[in-house]
């Protein structure tokens, strides 16, 4: 297995879990990021809290990378068409399906929501098929 990092993945996951718990415990809301993102720009209710959460999502990694000086790995396609199509589909799909990796994948599954379990299985299978098809055309990231 190439670049498999179970330890840092688990530690990162536990920290993400703590953030979800803190957000829920204090604000009474679930930290589904597609919902927070959508509401921050399209809904007046809780707008400033949502924008501050998104700001935190940027400040956290910024401070972490600044203080640890760990070089960051960031491999992404250089195709603008792919970026635009993917961004659009992620925005549309997460709102239509009511959640993303955090909302369904973490919050929903930990509440044993059948909807979230089905959604998570669906988007993972859909992602796997997409990557498989891209690879048949020689697209490897």
């Amino acid at each position: 297995m190439h670049n498999f990092t179970p330890l840092s993945a688990s530690i990162g996951g536990i920290i993400i879990g703590c953030a979800v718990v803190l957000f829920f415990y204090t604000t009474g809301r679930l930290a589904g990021i597609s919902g927070i993102f959508a509401n921050a720009f399209t809904n007046k209710e809780n707008r400033s809290s949502n924008l501050l959460f998104l700001l935190g999502l940027v400040i956290g990694p910024l401070c972490y990378l600044y203080f640890t000086k760990i070089p960051v790995n960031f491999e992404i396609t250089n195709s603008y068409i792919l970026i635009i199509v993917a961004g659009f589909l992620v925005g549309l799909g997460t709102r239509m399906g009511g959640g993303c990796t955090s909302g369904h994948g973490i919050c929903g599954i930990s509440r044993f929501s059948i909807r979230s379990i089905i959604a998570t299985i669906t988007f993972i299978i859909s992602g796997v098929i997409t990557v498989f098809i891209l690879q048949q055309f020689g697209f490897y990231l």
């Binding site: 993400i16 009474g28 940027v58 993972i124």
Partner: protein, 134 residues
């Protein structure tokens, strides 16, 4: 006021978790989805680590009506497995597989200062708005 402060702090902690987990790297997410070629199972450990914390605490807090700040608890009420849940998740998976970015890492990757992520976020916002008209 404190609601805003805790939103910011939760976002910071979430972002730190994302970068430590490696999920801010789209290449690593694509490797998770690439089951037939150099598969990297790390993402399962990220979700597992998070759920390990959230599941027991959500269970303990499940009957709470108000948060610690006295705000009414808001939880999704939908139970039905409708077409939108399925089609939406298929479209999301398609976009996720194309580039390897989902909403959290897409926002966090602003910290990497690659302008391509801003284009992704702008396209994502267009997708969000489009859904309002469907």
């Amino acid at each position: 006021m404190s609601e805003k402060l805790f939103s910011l702090v939760s976002g910071i902690i979430f972002g730190v978790g994302l970068v430590i987990s490696g999920m801010t790297n789209p290449g690593k997410v694509v490797s998770f989805l690439s089951v037939t070629h150099n598969w990297d199972a790390s993402l399962i450990f990220v979700m597992g680590g998070a759920i390990f914390v959230t599941a027991p605490i959500f269970y303990i807090l499940k009957n709470k009506k108000k948060s610690s700040l006295g705000i009414n608890v808001k939880l999704p009420q939908k139970k039905d497995l409708d077409k939108k849940l399925f089609i939406g998740s298929c479209l999301f998976g398609l976009g996720w597989g194309l580039v390897g970015l989902c909403p959290g890492p897409a926002v966090s990757s602003i910290a990497i200062f690659d302008p391509i992520t801003l284009i992704f976020l702008l396209a994502m916002l267009c997708g969000v708005i489009t859904n309002k008209y469907i």
